[in-house]
């Protein structure tokens, strides 16, 4: 089975390289036979990679411990879903998964009807074949998932218990799918720069693939932070860890690319292609950071030469893209004069601030390794760097997001803007005055609550007005809302994304500024008063089984009036396989705050040490994230605008 797996990878590598050459030659010479042969090669490469994935899955499920990868990531005690997730638990497997996604997408592109000018579409396929050949080359030379052990052990090491979490089963495939998805618009953008044919169809296709990739990456990041919150047990969801940052940076530039593509009558799209290429390169960089361990991180898989190959590939693509961009600079892009107070300017600023944020976060991530290699001083940047450096940019971005829906194309008069802003702004100001009266005095919190509520108020106010115009006798309010939404699905889908951003901003600000922490030492039957709650220790549990020694505290959470709310069992277990303690936190979630309990230790004398965190409004982060994904899905589910003359391809293609 290992021979079948490795052999098909080796073949896939050769076939992909051939496909790249055949397709590029065919596109250059207009030779139909070469193009056909290249397309066939892409399809067979996809089939070969699928065989390799199936072979590895077979070995994992058969628990064939003579294979190093299987030995390292499975054990006979493992539940079935985690055996499946072992496929992407290590470097070799996740690279294989990535290659598989890329090869399936390349096959899809090769089979789908032409979505750009003929030459551009052919070079797109060739570029994808190059990436496929590169990933296959890494797998067969540096990171072979089918490497075997001379003496097969009887039992495998198993998955790290920290990764045994449902969200961790879904998170890596989503991220790798998004990296794979970004390769398509990047290939298309490179092809567009090469041929110079960047027509309306080109931009429409680019935007659609960009949005798909953005949706997957956003979902992946969201699930990753949910996993960190539930599993890592330090009370937060984002640690500004290099690996987390590395996946956030392409998401930010990808968001910028989406916004540059929104244009009225096809103008101002010259930045979409370069930003798409940059985004994909940042995805490759994220893979490099995760896989090389160059930047110390809790997620790094250890040092390997894979990183060097990634860096070399990133460099080559960047040089190629810079050359193509330089060559095509002469192509004048028609630009309309737009006043400072216009949607064009708003969108440009949005894209610029997003890129600025990406740069700041990238600088922070690279600060420690650069300072160490340049100045020899070992240093770490605390999380406070990111809050300080990104706060002004985030405030500007959110403020822009609040006002942008009110700006018109070309020009907006200040008087008109003031008239439309008046009601939502009044609402937000009253809200903030109320919050101030309720005792919220932190200036940062007040500013961000003002802006975030303004975003929501502007969007809902606009939608309310639209729905009001559509009201009709005999229709229930829900039907009216449904009709108004469906009438401009893409527009309202995009606004749903922005509402999600507003909720996420509120959740992040509240939970980071108003988190409170208490250390408690309790004995059986003893209770502790938290503001608004009583926490009582009912029992302690200590038991052993085949996988771990389990230590748990059974706690009862009561309301201040003594009403039973929930039983909570924080745990602290010693897993035999890794000889390590793993903390399982207990959570009581409601819309106002999460009670997050970490079991510190069960002492010999029966005392239990607990850390109790109260994280306000955290649940709104997940709700906002869900709204964001839903909005993007709604935009994708509605047909792209294809009206003649409307050469957009934007998310919100409305004309006022």
């Amino acid at each position: 089975m290992t021979i079948i797996g490795y052999g098909s990878l080796l073949l896939a590598c050769g076939v992909s390289a051939y496909a790249a050459l055949a397709l590029a030659w065919g596109a250059n010479q207009g030779a139909v036979a070469w193009r056909q042969s290249g397309r066939n090669a892409i399809l067979s490469a996809a089939a070969l990679v699928t065989v390799a994935v199936a072979a590895l899955l077979y070995l994992l499920f058969a628990r064939d411990f003579s294979v190093l990868y299987v030995y390292s990531h499975t054990s006979t005690r493992q539940a079935l879903p985690y055996t499946l997730s072992a496929l992407w638990a290590g470097q070799e497997g996740s690279l294989l998964l990535w290659l598989w996604f890329v090869s399936l997408l390349a096959a899809l592109v090769a089979q789908s009807p032409r979505l750009a000018s003929p030459a551009t579409w052919r070079y797109t396929q060739a570029a994808l074949a190059v990436l496929q050949a590169f990933l296959a080359l890494i797998l067969v030379t540096q990171s072979n998932p089918f490497a075997s052990l001379a003496l097969p052990p009887a039992e495998g090491l198993g998955l790290n218990p920290l990764l045994e979490n449902p969200w961790m089963v879904v998170h890596p495939p989503l991220v790798f799918a998004s990296y794979a998805l970004y390769s398509v618009p990047c290939a298309l953008a490179l092809a567009g720069l090469l041929t110079g044919h960047q027509d309306a169809a080109f931009h429409r296709t680019l935007q659609r693939w960009n949005l798909w990739a953005w949706l997957f990456l956003g979902g992946g990041i969201l699930l990753g932070s949910l996993w960190a919150y539930l599993e890592l047990g330090w009370g937060g969801y984002w640690g500004w860890d290099p690996v987390e940052n590395a996946s956030l940076v392409p998401w930010l530039t990808g968001t910028a690319a989406l916004h540059t593509a929104i244009a009225h009558r096809g103008l101002r799209q010259k930045w979409t292609a370069p930003l798409t290429i940059v985004t994909f390169l940042l995805c490759l960089f994220a893979a490099f950071v995760t896989r090389s361990g160059v930047i110390q991180s809790v997620h790094a898989f250890g040092r390997s030469s894979v990183g060097i190959m990634f860096l070399a590939f990133i460099g080559l693509v960047a040089i190629l893209a810079a050359f193509l961009g330089w060559r095509s600079r002469a192509q004048a892009v028609q630009e309309a004069e737009a006043s400072l107070l216009s949607r064009e300017t708003g969108l440009s600023f949005t894209a610029m601030i997003l890129c600025g944020l990406a740069l700041v976060i990238l600088a922070g991530t690279l600060y420690a390794p650069l300072s160490e290699s340049l100045r020899g001083a070992a240093v770490v940047l605390g999380a406070s760097f990111y809050t300080r450096a990104s706060a002004p940019l985030l405030v500007a971005l959110l403020a822009l997001l609040g006002v942008c829906p009110l700006l018109r194309w070309r020009d907006t008069s200040a008087r008109q803007l003031g008239r439309e802003l008046a009601a939502p702004l009044a609402f937000s100001v009253i809200l903030v005055i109320l919050l101030f009266a309720l005792g919220i005095r932190e200036p940062a919190a007040l500013v961000l609550y003002l802006i975030a509520s303004l975003i929501g108020a502007v969007i809902l106010w606009q939608f309310g007005q639209e729905a009001w115009r559509r009201r009709d006798e005999g229709l229930s309010p829900w039907q009216v809302i449904g009709r108004a939404f469906r009438a401009r699905r893409r527009h309202h889908g995009a606004h749903l994304v922005h509402l999600g951003i507003a909720l996420i901003a509120i959740a992040i600000v509240s939970s980071s500024l108003y988190q409170t922490e208490q250390l408690l030492t309790l004995r059986e039957g003893q209770g502790a008063n938290l503001p608004g709650y009583t926490l009582i220790l009912r029992d302690t549990i200590q038991e052993q089984d085949a996988t771990r020694q389990r230590n748990a505290a059974l706690l009862e959470l009561q309301s201040a009036t003594g009403r039973h709310l929930a039983y909570l069992t924080p745990e602290r277990n010693l897993h035999w396989s890794i000889q390590q303690w793993v903390t399982e936190v207990a959570l009581h979630i409601n819309l106002r705050e999460d009670i997050y309990i970490i079991l510190g230790s069960l002492e010999q004398d029966g005392a239990v040490v607990l850390q109790v965190l109260r994280n306000p409004l955290v649940v709104w982060l997940w709700i906002g994230g869900g709204l964001l994904l839903l909005g993007a899905a709604i935009v994708l589910s509605s047909a792209p605008p294809e009206r003649a003359g409307q050469a957009a391809g934007g998310v919100a293609e409305e004309a006022p």
Partner: protein
């Protein structure tokens, strides 16, 4: 859009100047943001000897070493942890208020972040312990 020979018009030249000024201003703001924030948030690694010669300071630093055999004292009632960190011949007494980190044991390699409060007393805010797992370079205990 077909390639058209670009002929600079006064309007496009003006726009180009504006773009260049804008980009320069933005880059300057970004550099300022990064550098000023980095100065406040950078935490440097020092050796125990360096730390002691510097004396008490308001700025947090990181010190690494090995947990001395038999030096761990854990007071569950007050959630107070004490141990001695050894680096070569130098020793440093660490106090930490919080949960006892999972991987703290005699002989473990540890990195502590915090401040020197007395000549031989280091109040740690964070303890990082080197962990043998293949997934993690270090596990955190944060307070």
């Amino acid at each position: 859009m077909q390639a058209q020979p670009a002929r600079p018009t006064p309007a496009s030249r003006r726009r180009r100047t504006r773009t260049v000024i804008g980009v320069v201003a933005i880059v300057a703001i970004l550099i300022y943001l990064v550098l000023s924030s980095a100065r406040g948030a950078a935490v440097y690694y020092v050796t125990i000897a360096e730390l002691k010669s510097q004396g008490a300071s308001a700025k947090a630093v990181r010190v690494s070493g090995v947990v001395q055999e038999g030096s761990i004292r854990w007071d569950a009632e007050g959630s107070l942890l004490r141990f001695t960190l050894v680096e070569g011949t130098e020793q440093l007494a660490i106090t930490y208020h919080g949960l006892r980190p999972d991987m703290l044991r005699d002989g473990a390699s540890a990195i502590v972040e915090g401040k020197l409060t007395a000549p031989n007393e280091f109040a740690a805010q964070t303890i990082l312990l080197q962990c043998p797992s293949k997934y993690e370079a270090a596990a955190t205990a944060q307070s």
